[in-house]
Symmetry: C2
Subunit: 342 residues, 2 copies
Amino acid sequence: MDKDITIYDIAKELDLSPTTVSRALNDHPAVNKNTKQKICDIAAQMGYRSNIFASNLRKQRTNTIGVIVPRLNSPFMSSVMAGMEKEANNADYNLIITQSLETMQKEITNARTMFDSRVDGLLVSLAYETDTMDHFEPFISKGTPVIFYDRVIEHNQCTSIVIDNFQAAYKATCHLAKQGCKRILHLTANQKRNVYADRLKGYRYALIDNNLPFDESFVLITNLSEEAGVEAAQQILKMQPMPDGLFVSNDTAAVSCMRELQKAGIMIPDDIAVVGFNNDPISRVIEPNLTTVNYPGYEMGEVAVRSLIHHLNGLSDITITNTITLRSELIVRASSLRTKIE
Amino acid sequence: MDKDITIYDIAKELDLSPTTVSRALNDHPAVNKNTKQKICDIAAQMGYRSNIFASNLRKQRTNTIGVIVPRLNSPFMSSVMAGMEKEANNADYNLIITQSLETMQKEITNARTMFDSRVDGLLVSLAYETDTMDHFEPFISKGTPVIFYDRVIEHNQCTSIVIDNFQAAYKATCHLAKQGCKRILHLTANQKRNVYADRLKGYRYALIDNNLPFDESFVLITNLSEEAGVEAAQQILKMQPMPDGLFVSNDTAAVSCMRELQKAGIMIPDDIAVVGFNNDPISRVIEPNLTTVNYPGYEMGEVAVRSLIHHLNGLSDITITNTITLRSELIVRASSLRTKIE
DNA sequence: ATTGTTGTTGCAATCGGTTGCAATATAAAA
DNA sequence: TTTTATATTGCAACCGATTGCAACAACAAT
């Protein structure tokens, strides 16, 4: 197993040309059946493996998909990655994964790496901060497809894969209103990102439709970390009057906020009803169980990769498709259910 | 931005040879300072980017690390991935990630993919089922370094990166014994894997050292999924007498088991004290908070990549290093603390 | 016997960098 | 002035697979 076997070695062995060997191994129709069989047998026997660099160099295609993700270690994003990996693997594509850690700087560097790696396509979920698309232009102008998922942006050459954040937030807020909440606070993140902007909008429309006043001081913009949840709770405790409903843009912050409120003696859902977002495992563990929006991460990953590969194979065209919206649903649990009202 | 710029284009532009251009861009010492400067300037200006396939083809090196992981979507593994990505990115390496989904079949396919992709090194955490190492032999005999992390196996050419599972389990079990538990049940997984075999061993030694009898029916082998936790709870409820202590090999199963027990009216920790493993976020959310073993996933990922790259750069030799053991610690929380005993 | 068709194979160029060795220029030493 | 050392640069082969085009054989159609 010292030196690598090449098609030249196989060719010499069978007294054929490298051309024929190459064709045989790629199942080209213009090769005699017997010859093909013989070549494949010998190849297997000699332990041949194709040199993908030579192949890529020649074919100008890499069979590699680049993924830029804000953070790998969140339950939602790791589900997305798992779904992507499965689909990519099925279609014989490799995945190169990098994380932006929510900074635009790293996102730009990552994009550059992907570009240099000549990925066949790029899947991106934007960092909190990102406010320019310049780093994706090289892909566009080279014709490399770019698909945004979850944290997306409008671009006339790129498909976006999302859930209906407006709708989800609208329903979540309406649900709180139905439970009798009059002063609903919204804890969310950077408004540059569609997911948070849309949710805020959904929240506002729901307030209007339920004849509740909108109060700017009832919208807290944070990074939705565990700590942010705690801080939000401390702020809430100081409010006069306190909110009686809480709609948080992710479960991590919702849970840590709930716990901090509980520590201060607040009863959930009676004093404050809470709704989260994502349906992370913790939402089913916290007491009372957290009402949340189920967010199909795994499917989102699958769909993203599948769309990309379809496009690469010419089976569809993502420059035409604008947006793919996946179904999400409000899962009502005890954290927002006021039995007395029901 | 239509056609890619090559070193030939730059060469022509400056009336130099491609050789010199290549050398200049790689900061080769045998190139005149001024020439180098000029070349770099033009390259930047023309938007040149190196074709890594041509380069890899010639250099027989890929600057890519392969990672095989059982599942991407677990809090522990996604932390490991995050740590790996950070370190790899720092050192200008790419990561190709695949998941075995706990089957040996997929692990073998993945290894094959990695081999074909000619990764410079391989990081592996074994699937539950795996019981042969044949699929890693091609790497070994080609001199491609392989490092195992977490779910490891003894191999005289490979370094393993682990925590001291024996020690951790020993401490966890002793802790339960100190809390007055006399009948401690151990819920764990496939004994093919070091992590679970070592923990069982730690559990057994702890029983001995605390003068507690070992009972085979008190060791449940499962896949540690959420469902497995529920089933374990149902089994436990049927036991006569019931265990009064529970040491579970991960937090997911520990939590779902606890909840099922609580549903049946069991008081935790008074009727049954529980210890988990991993320090997942849910362990801090469940009521009562789960005592668990803190498991440095992020660091493990960092260390794995760092060791690999050091080896690749000749700064160390992983065929000499046998095992790198990271620190872990028992985090005592309410799920195992019996105040009356304290 | 001639032309056409189909099936199979090979030639040679190509993808874009890298590198051993030789060539040349320039400066320093004899 | 000649010799030797040093600094720069280029030639040409190479890495391994792919592919347009031509070549050739075998056989059918005319």
